[in-house]
């Protein structure tokens, strides 16, 4: 939506869209039908597409979809215990989630990425023994590369814990300890911060 009044549904992202959107740099224009000309950016890819019979143009809408998907996948986080996995394999919200305690809330290991786990299998058997399979089935934030790509701050004297991602500048996650309130939101230019390793 451009004016918070009229909303249009976006289609889910496809792998092609993701691959193409990675090559685009610079700010979004603000017009969903704006077309980026591939020929300027990457003539080789444009030629490939030509051969495939498609036009070397990508619409901003597709770029938007791909960016949203990337952000969600990379930095969409939830607190530990908010979601449980049943023995049948399905994941759903934990209605008994009472929130993290203050001590837990300051640790990065109590937040998980809300996507298919990648690192879980690599953990040693010793570590796995300590995990609780119903709540610890996602990747935690501790092992994010590069280390230190999250900034944890307590606001209002500890009443709210705020995590900000440094990889996607503008992604903010909040949680009120000992309550069920948490959430994340993105305000920004929609560009990945590729300079992160230099900036830490």
């Amino acid at each position: 939506s451009l004016n918070c009044l009229d909303w249009s549904l976006l289609t889910p992202a496809t792998k092609e869209m993701l691959a193409q959107a990675e090559q685009l740099k610079g700010r979004f224009q603000g017009d969903p039908s704006f077309e980026y000309n591939f020929a300027e950016i990457n003539p080789q890819a444009a030629e490939k597409l030509f051969e495939g019979g498609k036009e070397p143009v990508i619409k901003e809408e597709a770029r938007l979809i791909a960016t949203i998907e990337q952000i969600d996948r990379a930095v969409g986080i939830v607190p530990r215990g908010a979601f449980v996995k049943t023995p049948l394999g399905s994941v759903h919200e934990n209605r008994h989630f009472e929130g993290l305690s203050l001590v837990e809330a300051k640790k990065l290991s109590s937040y998980f990425h809300f996507t298919e786990p990648v690192n879980l299998k690599n953990k040693t058997l010793l570590e796995k023994a300590n995990l609780d399979p119903s709540t610890d089935f996602l990747d935690s934030l501790e092992h994010d590369i590069p280390q230190g790509s999250w900034s944890v701050q307590l606001e209002k004297g500890g009443a709210v814990v705020v995590l900000r991602s440094l990889l996607w500048l503008g992604l903010t996650f909040y949680h009120v300890p000992l309550t069920k309130q948490y959430g994340y939101i993105y305000f920004g230019t929609g560009e990945k911060n590729m300079d992160l390793p230099f900036m830490l």
């Binding site: 740099k25 700010r27 203050l102 004297g157 440094l166 230019t189 900036m199």
Partner: protein, 537 residues
């Protein structure tokens, strides 16, 4: 023991009048003694539990008389057990629960200090005098306007900042004060106030100590040289580092304002040191996150001269120079402009007629910078490091409008002071500024908002005569390309290579022997030839 059966000895003794000793009426004294003995027996403490029967019975009876339960005789054993059990529970805990001091409480205490109004009659008089010239900015009003655009902090935080600024103005001798903005950091954030101190109250900065230390260092080196004169000295390098570009004096150029920072409202304000051109030049080359601690070192290449406080000050200077704008015409050069100062001063235009909000949004030329642009050298006013004359260069600065890159020896120019925003160059095809209305629905009350694309996070609003700039962000410039650090300089050659110096491989033993043999052979041949010649002769 229970009631005695008739065949047991002691039967009937518990009945009065049937005691075997009844006929012997004891003396009152003896009776007293007997009572005391009985009591002493009852007071005998048990070895197991430390109780004695006397006290226990007294407690039980007290409890019964207090509570008066029904059918007491039936539950007497339970009562006795309860009394014994209750002994272990103290009514008055000597250990009190140590309540956790929640961090919320501590934070609230600090904020509470902000809310305390200064007491004392003297202050009341002072306040009355100064009300007309209060340097305190109206942060809440500014926050209201920015809120229309969706920018800003929560009302709570704005109010805390307001109170913190009030504290600052009462502590420091301040002429004008403004809330500059908030820079986010990894561990803590910075809240920044832009301040102009009253004249005559500025202290000399610690930066001067550096030159003093260098002076001392020189003295020590000279002493060592004198000692070494008798010894052979290694060749001294003829390298002279490029002369330091002096920083601008407090109150002019990049150091026009003094900045105070604090991590949170309620914490004490810290003054940032003035910025040097070397720091600005270096800050342009690096891109680092702020940690939130002012004394943290900035580890980077090229090495940044200073700690985080200096880096923060340098970024603030760059952001101010790049993004502080006001409606065109609000400020004007004073009529009696003197070329020498380079147009550093500006004053409010009393004849300013504010353009309508639609105009302000429509074209970017209705806005103008009111902070001097920082040149490549790192200063606002160019200085030739080899000479130190400023007069000639300033005149040229005013006339040229484009930034031209020239050699070090020639002067650098920059856009003059009140340049319109339309002359700001964009980055590739992105314009440098984006303007919009705060709301399209109510045009009468909408505010013109402009945001910078070069420094994401810098905003300015204008409506009528009011305008304000602010910054919320991480403190970095925007570039569509990735940041690449500068390559280290090429390794310096020690000496130019020439055939005279290049080493050649020494001949091996075999080669030498072969050479010698060849020579001998030659000599032998010559001798033979000579002999032959002699023979022939």
């Amino acid at each position: 023991h229970g009631p005695y059966q008739p065949h047991e000895p002691g039967y009937g003794l518990d009945q009065p009048e049937y005691s075997p000793y009844d006929d012997q009426i004891p003396d009152p004294k003896a009776q007293m003694l007997a009572i005391q003995n009985a009591k002493a027996y009852l007071l005998k403490t048990s070895t197991k539990s430390g109780l004695n029967l006397y006290d226990h019975l007294a407690n039980v009876l007290t409890k019964i008389l207090d509570e008066q339960p029904t059918n007491t005789v039936d539950i007497i054993e339970n009562i006795s057990k309860d009394v014994k059990w209750a002994r272990f529970q103290k009514k008055m805990d000597t250990l009190r629960d140590q309540y956790e001091i929640l961090p919320t409480f501590e934070a609230a205490e600090k904020c509470k200090a902000l809310f305390v109004k200064e007491s004392g009659e003297e202050n009341e008089e002072v306040i009355e005098e100064e009300i007309g010239q209060s340097p305190l900015p109206n942060v809440m009003e500014t926050a209201f306007y920015f809120e229309q655009a969706g920018i800003g902090l929560s009302k709570d935080e704005s109010y805390y900042i307001f109170l913190a600024l009030k504290n600052l103005t009462s502590v420091q001798p301040i002429q004008t004060c403004r809330f500059w903005g908030k820079i986010l950091g990894l561990e803590m954030n910075y809240i920044i106030a832009e301040v102009q101190l009253r004249e005559g109250e500025e202290e000399e900065e610690a930066g001067e100590e550096v030159t003093e230390e260098e002076g001392k260092g020189m003295d020590e080196v000279e002493e060592q040289d004198e000692e070494k004169k008798k010894e052979d000295e290694p060749p001294k390098s003829t390298y002279k580092p490029p002369p330091d570009i002096p920083k601008e004096a407090n109150g002019t150029g990049a150091n026009k304002y003094v900045y105070f920072v604090c991590n949170e409202p309620g914490k004490p304000w810290v003054k940032l040191p003035p910025v040097t051109p070397a720091q600005i030049v270096c800050a342009r080359k690096i891109k680092k996150f702020f940690t939130g601690r002012l004394h943290a070192p900035v580890v980077s290449f090229p090495p940044f001269p200073g700690n985080e406080a200096n880096y923060l000050r340098a970024q603030i200077a760059r952001i101010s120079a790049g993004t502080h704008v006001s409606p065109t015409g609000f400020y004007q050069f004073p009529e009696e402009e003197e070329e020498e100062e380079g147009g550093d001063t500006y004053e409010e235009n009393p004849d300013f007629e504010p353009p309508s909000v639609a105009e302000m949004v429509g074209s970017v030329s209705t806005w103008a910078h009111h902070v001097k642009n920082i040149l490549k050298q790192g200063r606002c006013v160019w200085i030739n490091p080899q000479k130190s004359e400023e007069k000639n260069e300033d005149e040229d600065e005013e006339e040229e409008e484009e930034e031209e890159e020239m050699d070090e020896q020639q002067e650098e120019t920059g856009p003059p002071l009140l340049t319109l925003l339309s002359e700001d160059e964009g980055i590739k095809d992105i314009p440098a500024w984006t303007a919009q209305h705060s709301t399209n629905l109510i045009p009468q009350h909408s505010v013109a908002i402009i945001q910078s694309n070069r420094w994401p996070g810098a905003y300015a609003f204008a409506t009528g005569r009011k305008f304000e700039n602010i910054y919320f962000g991480w403190g970095h410039k925007y570039s569509p390309e990735n940041y690449t650090p500068i390559l280290p300089p090429p390794v310096q050659e020690e000496y130019p290579s020439s055939p005279a110096i290049t080493e050649a491989r020494d001949p091996t033993l075999e080669e030498e022997l072969a050479f010698k043999a060849a020579q001998e052979a030659l000599a032998a041949d010559e001798e033979e030839e000579e002999e032959e010649e002699e023979e022939e002769e």
